[in-house]
Amino acid sequence: MMLRRMDSMMVSFEMTETLLAVALTLAAFVCLFDRHLLRATLCFIGFALLLTLAWWRLATPWLALAELLLGAIVSGASLLFALGVLPTGAALKPRHDRFPVPLSHGVTRLALSVLWLVLMAAGVRHALPAMALSPSEEPLLIAAGVWVACALGAFALHRHLLRRLLAFNVLGSGVFVLLAGMAGPMLAAQLLILVGLCIAALGTLLGALLIRRLYHLEGLEALDPDIDKTVAQ
């Protein structure tokens, strides 16, 4: 779709797409960086729904359907389950991520994210030389690059398991959009995305189950509860 429109070679400003991209990016940011877990999760569901819209806009209805089913419903439900919201019961008690973030971690992750953004940009630029002429034509592509960089940074930064799972999901969506955006309407790309979506949903489901189980068994919210202790030694 995007590529097809490129034939016209005229500089146009796709309002809807841009809005979508901005909304998605905002949702992604909230999802990634809000310490309130439920809010972040709900934001993610919103993100997934918006993304369904985006797939629809990009004329890949199958992917839209898959995103709706797998991304919004399955993943969302899984995450809510992990939070203990869905079937009411033993919820994750502190609904906030209360792990402190040392400054050095934050700075390094930020730096990494920025560099990754550069990396994304370079990749897109070299893969699609034509895009350099009209970067504004591909707001979703640009947004997806931002998601990827931020999600990776968030994944590396966060310790709370649910937030890492969220980061993974955002990262996945970003990658899929990038893939779709760069490869265009190829069936191969769609298949890749479909597989990716399935796997992401399965992974999220599995992760959510594990998070619940771990919390249930050990009261754990992070992978390395004793990291500070061991590093200090």
């Binding site: 992750r109 990494l112 990396l119 370079a122 390395d224 004793d226 990291i227 030694q233």
Partner: protein, 617 residues
């Protein structure tokens, strides 16, 4: 036939030793009455130590020596065996085997008491002490034939390996002969003997290796030729001279003789001083290029040195020996003195080779005579300590006879003295002859002292027919040596006008001793100890050892310190590793960041490598 005799001569002593051991190991009647059968009882009786069968160990060799010159070669033995009875070794083997036989006969009587003690009831109170002595006696009986086998082998051997084998066998098998008495002195004597023997073996090995390696030979004649022709011949010869010199009692290396001989039982002393000491001499004759007219200057110089050493021994031993208290020690010094004369003659063989062909029969005769006479003298010491109830003058005359003969005053001694003097006359060694004559004074003095010391220790009774028989036969054989010794030509009897020249040293020596006794017998001074220089050596060795030991200790401490340091470092390194491994947890925590970083680094590197870093070509 001769081959059979060869084999018998060498193997029979070994067989005797083995049978003696077997008899000992077979169950003894009194220990296990039910077990021992009649057969085994008889077996242990026939083969018990000091039986006739035991005495017969040296008979095949005797027979071989009597039967004439022979030669046998067998490549399979060690490095290739070559055994030969030459004109030189035949008389040598004869007197050696004879002395061993007679000493064995003497021993048969000498150890009679011990022998019965061997089967005595084992519940005696002084069991431990007597048991040790008894065991010493048994070990002596076991090693006696072995030592003889070695002695016979070294005489017969013409190849290096079996010569050296015989020499080593004799040397080491003689150790139990020395320490039989199991007393403090015996152990000390044995130790000195062994230390010097090992040193001697080492020198011999070095010399033989060098010489044989240089000449690529495996025979003794090859060694002789090799030394004569090699550039470094003098050094090889020196090594060998020193090595054999230990056995032959060259001055400086003689210290074991006066320490080991007095402690050994009389028959053992007899063979030690009579037969085994001659092995050193035979060694010289075998390996030094004596009589080789092509010898080089270096060897002549060595010969002169040998000559001097020999003469010094001849005099110094006499001068020192007369002060000894123990008759056997005196006799041991006499052996040193006599061997000094023989050493001097060997030196002559190097200095003036042309005379050697005349000289060697004289040397052989001298050796044979000295062997048997010294044997008789040593055996005589046991006679004087257990003297039979014979008329005293007769007994003491008989005891004195071999001594007289040794001074050259009568019988075989005179003949042997004359035979080398006449050879030396031909070489115009007037000075040497004069010196040797003077040395005879020393001999006479030593003999007188020995007799006197024996007199002081005389005891009556307790001797045995075998003891006396062995002694008397040895005496007779010594006095008649020129008659039966198979030398190439009959030894000349000295003309009458020379007689005085041979006799006066005896008188002089006896006179001097008499004067000295008369002058000094009131004085109660300390007599010099036997073994003279040994004590100096011991002090020197200890002085040398102490710093070495300190160095060794310091090195050991240093090593210990190094080890500890290494261990400390190891502990530290392990602790560091342990600390490092905590980083594993850090890595685990930061997988995500590291993954991002790796992708970035790889991308940056690849772009940089491609020359297209950013933003475009």
């Amino acid at each position: 036939m001769t081959t059979l005799l060869f084999v018998l001569a060498l193997l029979w002593p070994l067989a005797v030793a083995a049978l003696t051991l077997a008899a000992r190991l077979s169950p003894r009647p009194e220990k296990a009455p039910g077990v021992a059968s009649d057969l085994s009882l008889r077996f242990s009786r026939v083969f018990r130590p000091f039986s006739w069968l035991w005495v017969s160990a040296s008979w095949p060799a005797l027979l071989l020596a009597v039967s004439g010159e022979a030669r046998w070669q067998w490549e399979g033995f060690m490095l290739g065996g070559l055994w030969e009875l030459t004109p030189l070794t035949r008389p040598w083997l004869l007197f050696t085997a004879l002395l061993w036989t007679l000493a064995a006969v003497h021993a048969k009587g000498y150890f009679k008491g011990d022998l019965t003690a061997d089967f005595k009831d084992e519940t005696l109170p002084e069991r431990s002490a007597s048991a040790e002595k008894r065991r010493g006696t048994f070990v002596l009986a076991l090693f006696w034939p072995l030592a003889f086998a070695g002695n016979a082998l070294l005489i017969l051997a013409q190849d290096i390996a079996s010569f050296y084998f015989g020499f080593a066998l004799m040397t080491f098998a003689a150790y139990p002969l020395v320490v039989q008495a199991a007393t403090q002195e015996a152990w000390r004597g044995g130790r000195v003997y062994l230390i010097l023997a090992v040193m001697g073996e080492a020198f011999i090995l070095a010399g033989l290796l060098w010489a044989a390696g240089a000449a690529e030979t495996l025979t003794l004649s090859g060694v002789r030729e090799g030394i004569a022709s090699a550039d470094a011949g003098i050094w090889m010869a020196l090594l060998l001279f020193v090595g054999f010199g230990v056995k032959a009692g060259v001055v400086g290396l003689h210290v074991w003789l006066p320490l080991a001989h007095p402690v050994a039982p009389a028959p053992a002393s007899a063979v030690l001083s009579g037969a085994m000491i001659k092995a050193g001499l035979l060694g010289w004759i075998n390996v030094l290029p004596l009589g080789d007219v092509s010898t080089q200057g270096g060897l002549v110089a060595l010969g002169q040195g040998i000559l001097a050493v020999g003469l010094i021994a001849a005099f110094a031993a006499a001068l020192y020996g007369v002060w000894q208290r123990h008759p056997k020690a005196v006799l041991a010094y006499s052996s040193i003195s006599q061997m000094g004369m023989l050493t001097a003659l060997v030196g002559v063989g190097l200095v003036t080779p042309e005379v050697w062909s005349l000289l060697w029969p004289a040397v052989a005769l001298f050796a044979a005579h000295h062997a048997l006479a010294k044997g008789a003298l040593f055996l005589g010491t046991s006679i004087s300590e257990h003297s039979p109830r014979w008329p005293v003058p007769l007994l003491w005359a008989l005891l004195a006879l071999p001594g007289l003969s040794l001074t050259g005053a009568l019988a075989a001694g005179m003949v042997s003295k004359w035979s080398f003097k006449s050879a030396l006359y031909e070489a115009e060694h007037a000075l040497l002859i004069k010196l040797l004559t003077f040395a005879a004074i020393g001999t006479a003095a030593l003999m007188s002292v020995a007799l006197w010391r024996q007199w002081q220790r005389r005891q009556v009774g307790g001797s045995d027919g075998y003891q006396q028989g062995g002694w008397l036969l040895a005496l007779a054989a010594a006095l008649t040596a020129p008659l039966w010794l198979p030398l190439p030509q009959a030894s000349p009897v000295p003309p009458l006008k020379e007689w005085w020249g041979l006799v006066w040293p005896l008188l002089a020596g006896v006179f001097m001793v008499a004067c000295a006794v008369a002058l000094l017998h009131r004085r109660r001074g300390r007599l010099p100890p036997a073994g003279d220089a040994w004590w100096l050596y011991a002090v020197a060795a200890r002085a040398l050892y102490r710093p070495l030991a300190q160095v060794g200790e310091r090195l050991a401490r240093m090593k210990q310190a190094c080890v500890e340091l290494a261990l400390k470092w190891e502990r530290r390194a392990m602790a560091a590793v342990q600390r490092c491994l905590f980083a594993e947890a850090w890595l685990r925590h930061h997988v995500g960041g590291l993954m991002m970083a790796l992708a970035l680094v790889l991308a940056a590197l690849l772009m940089w490598e491609g020359g297209d870093f950013w933003p475009g070509r």
